[in-house]
Homo-oligomer: 548 residues x 2
Amino acid sequence: MTQRNWTTRRDDKRARMAAAEPWLDGKVLERDRVGDALQALIRSGDRVIAEGNNQKQADFLSRALAELDPDQVHDLHMIQPSVGRPEHLAVFEKGIAKKLDFAFSGTQSHRIGQLMMDGTIEVGAIHTYIELYARLFVDLIPKVVLAAAFKADRAGNLYTGPSTEDTPALVEAAAFSGGIVIAQANEIVDDVSQLDRVDIPGSWVDVVVEADKPFYIEPLFTRDPRHITPVQIFMAMMALKGIYAEHGVTSLNHGIGFNTAAIELLLPTYGEKLGLRGKIATNWVLNPHPTLIPAIESGWVETVHCFGTELGMEHYVAARPDVFFTGADGSLRSNRAFCQLAGHYAADMFIGSTLQMDADGNSSTVTTSRVSGFGGAPNLGCDARGRRHATPAWANLAPEGDPLARGRKLVVQMVETFQAGLTPTFVDTLDAVAVAEKAGLDIAPVMVYGDDTTHLLTEEGLAYLYKAESPAERRAMIAAVAGVTPLGLSADAATTQRLRDEDKVRTPEDLGVSRTEATRSQLAASSIADLVDWSGGLYAPPPRFRSW
Amino acid sequence: MTQRNWTTRRDDKRARMAAAEPWLDGKVLERDRVGDALQALIRSGDRVIAEGNNQKQADFLSRALAELDPDQVHDLHMIQPSVGRPEHLAVFEKGIAKKLDFAFSGTQSHRIGQLMMDGTIEVGAIHTYIELYARLFVDLIPKVVLAAAFKADRAGNLYTGPSTEDTPALVEAAAFSGGIVIAQANEIVDDVSQLDRVDIPGSWVDVVVEADKPFYIEPLFTRDPRHITPVQIFMAMMALKGIYAEHGVTSLNHGIGFNTAAIELLLPTYGEKLGLRGKIATNWVLNPHPTLIPAIESGWVETVHCFGTELGMEHYVAARPDVFFTGADGSLRSNRAFCQLAGHYAADMFIGSTLQMDADGNSSTVTTSRVSGFGGAPNLGCDARGRRHATPAWANLAPEGDPLARGRKLVVQMVETFQAGLTPTFVDTLDAVAVAEKAGLDIAPVMVYGDDTTHLLTEEGLAYLYKAESPAERRAMIAAVAGVTPLGLSADAATTQRLRDEDKVRTPEDLGVSRTEATRSQLAASSIADLVDWSGGLYAPPPRFRSW
């Protein structure tokens, strides 16, 4: 038996905490000494998580990190669910950090792409969120977590408000592995009785510091109905008839685009006319999209579990606790880990959009000019092969005649055949292949694979890809709805007719949906102001969305 | 806009809590009034979670539930990760509960099978753990959770000790949906300063009650090395050479059988001889198996993240914080939700065993006489199609030549061709098919599907199923290693030879493993006493495992 020291992580943590001691009053760090404290608590080569969520950013701590001296602290390995702030990239440009594992980059997608290509950032992988959390307990155990909260007390208890998001997963990985948890809060109160509720217990947190200003929140999921086009409405009608009603989809996740916003706004109008209320779209796995308000108010929606929150939706959500998950304090409890689990294992359907799709149905939002990451799409947009319970929609996709047949998650890609600027959506080769080569990635960053995609919906028609009997037939089905793109023009007319006859492809006509019906007057709300009205004044849109 | 009441869940909770008020002092319930309180807090038809984990049981509360008057409370829908106690089934026999959704039944597998077949229990589905948690946020939102903790304080803060297990997932689902959280604790202390650490914040918990005795713990993962057979050692040697070393498997999960216990005990001996230390099996997703102690002590194991704990391993784990995830109090922090996530998304390999396998490689532990459920196997034993990061082992299974090719999770079934009693492991049709019919299940309870299984290892050879070019070839590969079972005897000798020539099947000889080497002297520990020695006396096996 060895004389090995089995407490190196704990000893190391104690030594670092002792070095930061001069600037700590218990767990509370003086704001002005944040740089000194980080210098004491972080060592070169550390794995560091800077909490970047969609709706909560450890931005004060990230700015402080970016101001460290790269001669003292360098080669950090950053782990970030979301890379959403300029300071998240500054640490690479300054030589403080070298390697990055992430899931989503949102507003930084152009710049991160450049830094990946020129070698400034060495990317481990572009993950889906819960894949990244999973690795925090196996091969990417973090040394330091920079977290964010609305409020903290002096014992380290954190109140995250409606933006719990990734915090429980990130903090747990460090708190129980000899890592150091540092949390910024908009406000520090004396004790737990002054916190609205506790989201993270104080015994998991080592340092709290009051930020210089409240953390930044990006209203990422707000889609102004004014920008929804007739083509999107047309496709939304096809989706409701050909997918939602066809399969009886009750539990689902929507992507963040205008396509799915159109569907949300058609439920109380077109959906009502089709007699679908209570039969489809009852249980949601979704951020609190403002465009879902009319469906909620019309009694379509039973429940919504949220990954995160959405700026402006706080009062509305708090007033609808039968629908949303809320705490004893009344505000939303979001939790991205559980919500992604719910989306993977408990939702009948994922429906989203993409920038590029190849002839085999592989799709990606990564292009040579933008590396936006995938967020939750790969996890939501794949078959959950560990699933062992049936719902009508899931079972509806099972092949017949096999006593061991299993159903499938519906994975729907809803795309117009051309992107803005008349670039075909359908490409010979995804840009992801070139990006992988240039940035030295181990695998091409595909968002959703063709063999996981069960339905492809374009303005030209709906391909039931899960019915394909071979890869060749799947390609023919994709080409059949690819319109006048080069891929679409390559489709064989006789084959397309056969696919229609076999009910593998349906045109709008087959579905009984006409373009002339697809007008904006079908939308339950045609502006942000309408959404505010639907909410009874509870929804408070951010200023940039206000036109009144 | 409707005049709908949006706070029915919250109002209902308040009414129920008010009805229980007479027996509550703050959140603390008098033990003797637990029946009255449950009667006030639970209504017929409710979805109720009775915490049954592998290592933590809300047994006091479950017994109280089973003593309610079925005329007053009936038709409960029970949701239980694990159905491990007789009282869990008594609620069905007494007519208090009607429907059950579960994941594992362990020691109750015979009785639960009978009750399913005779219609006493209506089973929703037999889930994998995190699938069941996922549904708690979508279509199985619980009304009441009966949870278990080591200690609670009067404010409801819970300390779960090393058995955190499922508690965070179960409590969160109810606490934030207007549900009622009732926790039993072995001990109630006055305030948080007397808790070793906080695992569940008090603001999530409504009622705490001191149990009449500590909750029951079953040492489910302890395998006595004395019962490991030469055949198991032989297969373990084949596994190490043909799978672990072949693919460079570093992150992994092991099932709970003697097969994998043999592998654990060969690492410091046979594995060392092969020069594999540091190259394989470094990062584990696993309960604290006592049989892993020699590998840990020999420096093979970098980290272990745990689903739950194991009775007797408390002091050992606490003394090895570099390896195990532990809290500030020093004890293990297990967490089944995150550990299952880790096993799904971050582990290279799952290796387990089964009772039956059909000719297509579908396997199940459900038989007509035992419905043990699957626990984590379906989640761990399926390809994680949302995964977007590469490791050498994962990438090693990718087909060559396709720029979009992805790797695969290694899913290994390790079985002897005959079960005890000389029943062939390979069957024409899984019993699961008949069980589904008799018990009215929506789908046959398959544990791991053949198309997810990448390797099949028997004492006759190792079939690299992921190399199969067609379902027919996969069947031939399975038959090639099925020995003298009817399936094995049906194998065509010429085909088997071709499969060996193409390196799709390897015999022990091909692998360079001989039966004569496979002796018990290869085991790093041959008894529980040896494991105690390896642990330096830190491992304290339960009495039934002590022979000294």
